[in-house]
């Protein structure tokens, strides 16, 4: 009962949020200078040509009218037509979404693996040089933004020691047998490890650049929580049973420390997804973020709107997933 009411109220807030995002984006991109029509026509086009195109894309009406038209179309699943590519926004956006999802999830996995390992090591060797070293690494990870990490990685793994691909999502020479845009996932399912290796080689640097700041946050928060938990009574009791320090950290402390860390990681993960915009551009990775920048440059209003709404939906889903994981991991909520 309680759960149902929570779900409903959550759904309502989500819809209101999405509506708000739609309104704001719609207004902002029409108020800022820049004319999509001017971008489409050759220099010296006549006033009549401009007016004709404006009418075609509905840009001659007031912002309010434009919004009503756009919104009622959206409710019917029609996000309009991209001005620059003349293709339906929805299919453009959905085509690129898998690339960004795979990149973000890979970055999240890397961040959790790196941050988690550092947190456990730092706790295991607390008060020693290892922990001090990890604290320094966390500080560096936190103070350098993802795009600078991207540049540093390009220098390191692209120029000085060129072992990874710098640009794109997959090598153009490869024949792709895929039916979906989830290349990495599908290559795994089809056991095409040659393609998978190529995809990973492309994904490694952008994913790592996105992962490092989050890894530092996870490492710092989780270590803080672990160091508290390893001194709690049940951890001490486990030691008297004969368990090693490492075992105490992993099986007594970690399950209890993940929970407080999780909520913050969820918020940070949405920032990570936001970071894909610049990182994808930097590595010419063909995802949503890269398309978003093109759309802004071309003043492709319907496409910008579509992308922003999709990002907003994505963020909402991430938050929902975090809350559900939280409830699932917490025995007290599970039985409430």
């Amino acid at each position: 009962m309680m759960l149902l009411r929570q779900t409903v109220s959550r759904l309502v807030t989500t819809l209101i949020t999405l509506f708000g995002v739609a309104v704001i984006v719609f207004v902002v991109i029409r108020v800022v200078p820049g004319n999509p029509i001017a971008m489409m026509l050759p220099p010296g086009a006549s006033e009549a040509d401009i007016e004709r195109l404006k009418t075609l894309y509905g840009l001659d009406k007031s912002i309010f009218e434009q919004f009503i038209i756009w919104f009622s179309n959206v409710l019917h699943g029609d996000f309009g037509t991209s001005i620059s590519t003349r293709q339906p926004v929805l299919s453009l956006v959905l085509d690129r979404l898998p690339a960004t999802l795979e990149l973000s999830i890979m970055a999240l996995v890397m961040a959790v693996a790196i941050g988690g390992t550092l947190a456990v090591l730092g706790t295991r060797f607390r008060g020693r040089k290892t922990e001090a070293g990890i604290d320094v690494a966390n500080g560096i990870g936190l103070s350098i933004p993802d795009f600078l990490w991207g540049l540093a990685l390009i220098l390191l793994f692209g120029v000085l020691w060129p072992v990874f691909q710098i640009s794109g999502r997959v090598s153009p020479r490869l024949e792709l047998p895929f039916t979906s845009q989830f290349y990495l996932f599908e290559s795994l399912l089809r056991l095409r490890f040659d393609i998978m290796a190529d995809l990973l080689s492309h994904m490694f640097m952008p994913a790592l650049a996105l992962a490092l700041p989050l890894a530092a946050i996870i490492s710092q928060l989780l270590k803080l929580s672990l160091k508290e938990t390893v001194n709690l009574d049940y951890s001490v009791l486990a030691r008297t049973k004969g368990y090693s320090e490492t075992k105490v950290i992993l099986s007594e402390a970690l399950p209890n420390s993940i929970l407080p860390t999780l909520t913050l990681v969820g918020v940070q993960f949405t920032f990570l997804i936001g970071g894909t915009v610049i990182i994808e551009r930097l590595f010419s990775y063909e995802g949503l973020g890269n398309m978003a920048i093109d759309a802004v440059i071309n003043r492709d209003l319907p496409l910008i709107q579509g992308i922003v709404i999709l990002f907003a939906i994505l963020f909402t889903f991430v938050n929902l997933a975090v809350d559900m994981t939280y409830a699932f991991l917490n025995p007290k909520l599970r039985h409430a």
Partner: protein
């Protein structure tokens, strides 16, 4: 005479400040006997229990002395071997049942984990044993309880479970650190009785940390009175209650309300007594040299 647990000349201090926490502590506990550790807050009672179980805080270092468990010096074996020895031969009944069970693990595994992981039993045997000890501490429906999480149980139930868990591996020594102070007064007596019964039935040596002399008179055979990390009196329970030898012991006894004399009220330990003990400790500290002969 050599007990199952022998602590000889154990001194410990805080690593940072060098503050002495234990001063040449000697404690002997034969198999199957119960020794009380009494003294006021901060005297070092828990510290001794932690030293025996190998869980001293990182900030505390042992300067000298030996802790022999079943004849083996815990200071002389590798850390891994020490953990295994302690896990196999000793167990802890903790003070606060609300914090001593891991909230994210089910009850069952928290009882069987030592049996399986440390003692190498099969899962089936460990589960049978867990059900057995849970029945022994009067837990109803042990199969169901084993599947629950700690927050689904009352404090008294949890302490019973912790007691069962401590006895599950048939340890020869149990350290109980104020096992009833965190509980409701109504269940304190039952839990005390339960520990006492199990101890007698299993012939376990019990190191019982408490500041309640009334509890000592019911549960213990011998006791060590601690002040500022020093054993000021080591005696049997009969002798202690009949005629305490040390001034501090007498004062402690006088400070405890007697059940026989309801009119007596709680009195603080007199100032002169404390000054005398402090002077004694200062004198023995002055005469003490690390690894030297002189011991207070």
């Amino acid at each position: 005479m050599s007990g199952f647990l022998e602590i000889r000349g154990l001194s410990a201090r805080l690593a940072g400040t060098g503050q002495r926490l234990l001063r040449s502590v000697d404690i002997s506990l034969p198999a199957g006997c119960v020794r009380g550790l009494v003294g006021e807050s901060g005297a070092g009672k828990s510290m001794i229990g932690k030293a025996v179980l190998g869980v001293l805080p990182k900030a505390v270092e042992i300067i000298e002395g030996e802790i022999l468990l079943d004849g083996q010096d815990l200071q002389k074996v590798s850390p891994a071997e020490r953990r295994r020895l302690i896990g196999a031969k000793a167990a802890l009944i903790p003070q606060d049942p609300l914090t001593a069970l891991n909230p994210s693990r089910r009850i069952g595994p928290q009882i069987t984990d030592r049996l399986v992981d440390i003692l190498g039993w099969t899962k089936a045997r460990a589960t049978t044993r867990a059900l057995e000890v849970l029945a022994e501490v009067s837990i109803p429906e042990p199969e169901r309880i084993m599947r629950l999480y700690p927050h689904e149980l009352s404090g008294g139930m949890r302490q019973r479970i912790l007691i069962a868990s401590a006895f599950a591996a048939e340890p020869k020594l149990i350290v109980a650190d104020e096992p009833t102070t965190a509980l409701d007064v109504t269940v304190q007596k039952q839990i005390l009785k339960l520990i006492s019964e199990l101890q007698a039935r299993h012939g376990t040596a019990l190191l019982f940390v408490t500041h309640d002399l009334g509890v000592v008179s019911k549960v213990c055979d011998t006791l060590s009175v601690l002040y500022a990390g020093k054993v000021v009196e080591d005696t049997t329970v009969e002798r202690f209650f009949a005629a305490p030898q040390h001034g501090y012991s007498s004062a402690l006894l006088a400070a405890t309300p007697r059940h026989t004399d309801p009119s007596s009220s709680l009195k603080p330990v007199p100032h002169e007594v404390l000054e005398t003990v402090a002077a004694e400790i200062a004198a023995s500290d002055a005469a003490w040299r690390p690894n030297g002969g002189a011991r207070g």
